[in-house]
Symmetry: C2
Subunit: 247 residues, 2 copies
């Protein structure tokens, strides 16, 4: 980053594209996102963005501002300052986030910072992990007569702390970064009367070559997930029950 | 469709790709989805898939199996039969759905039908309308300290009937195809104590050139939305409050 800050400030600031990288596979980013990455001069990316995706912007200066649950990460205010500093020195700056930038992404803080600094920006959506997971395991998140609505939630804060917010009351529940709190989430759902037999699918490293799918029921989840080192998506609800072949 | 069925049956059935077209803009489909469309022999698509996107598969036979709220559409069992009939006659068949195929897409029924007929398939996720909308209006769906979780729901059935399922209890509520039920949804939320001042953003034709953004509060929504002919996404919650510029 230091060498980038040594560059001269432009007479007019450049533009920032806030882009969703999708789940990690190189071809699960949007066509628009891939094209913009190929034109970027600087890319500030999260730790969870894969090297495959970063291969789409090999011409750019790469700055890892990664946040990762439980690991050392750049404070949000520092990321905001870096974004602004880059936009003052380069025409085309990309802020690249895993999944979609508008879900659990601290986008509000980054957009406010850019607006305060009068930096132009544009947002490009990405495939959020839940949809990549549903596609990978061939299980729809909604199902006629069984699951009419879906909630996305997380209780891991940026600092890796957990905060027990009320669990949403939806047919299908998707907990992002849910690995560490699996036992707590299961116990709380059982306590409010969710059936012990409710299907659960936990997936580590969704859409990547080392993807690991764990199928269980809510009562088993209450005893904990197998050890995982990558990010884990936890999906709970009747829609996740394995299909029995008809006929 | 009749001329396609006149084709000879293959010795081994082809493969079906269930692909999410995203919100409509030609470059908001995934790189994988665009590549597969370019190689398809037959594409069975919903009515809501835009002509822009269909331009990516101009080499293919196009079959509209469109469903659109309140309009005549092909019954789901007929779609299932058409999919199977095409896969028995062509190597590369695409079932193209607006948004993401695993959310409100009747995917469960199509996958069951394909499995029963021993047809191989693969699923490619797409940008669901809510994320495209959040990007277009620059409003994140979650916001630290304000909105920790998001629910996606719909109450319009495939036949255009509405069914008043319980409203989810999430900080941010996103109702797909929510235009016709706007008054009812608003009244029900007010009745359970949601603040009349809660911000609402209704968006018609998300990501398309004729996109229309309507900002209001919950109490105004209870009086109805302006007339819309396209699909309307209704977004409700504090996260949708317009940002006031800092500093």
């Amino acid at each position: 980053m230091q060498d980038l800050l040594a560059r001269p400030v432009l007479p007019h600031a450049g533009k920032v594209w806030l882009i969703g990288a999708g789940p990690g596979a190189i071809d699960l980013i949007t066509v628009r996102g891939a094209a913009l990455l190929g034109q970027a001069e600087v890319v500030l990316h999260d730790a969870l963005v894969t090297s495959e995706i970063l291969g789409l912007c090999s011409q750019a200066h790469l700055v890892s501002v990664g946040k990762r649950s439980g690991q050392r990460s750049t404070a949000q205010t520092v990321i905001n300052q870096q974004l602004i500093a880059c936009a003052r020195r380069f025409e085309r700056v990309v802020r690249l986030k895993g999944g979609d930038p508008m879900l659990f992404g601290r986008a509000d803080e980054e957009l406010r910072a850019l607006e305060s600094a009068d930096i132009r920006y544009e947002i490009v959506p990405g495939i959020t992990t839940a949809f990549a997971a549903a596609a990978a395991i061939c299980q729809p998140l909604t199902k006629r007569g069984v699951a009419r609505n879906v909630a996305f939630f997380t209780s891991t804060t940026a600092k890796g702390e957990t905060d027990e917010a009320a669990l949403p009351s939806c047919d299908t529940l998707i907990q992002y970064m849910g690995g560490h709190e699996a036992i707590s989430t299961a116990k709380r759902l059982l306590a409010v009367g969710k059936s012990p037999d409710t299907p659960v699918i936990a997936i580590e490293n969704v859409s990547r070559t080392n993807q690991k799918v764990m199928r269980m029921t809510l009562i088993h989840m209450a005893q904990g997930l197998p050890d995982c080192s990558g990010p884990v998506l936890v999906m709970i609800g009747e829609a996740l029950r394995a299909r029995i072949k008809d006929s």
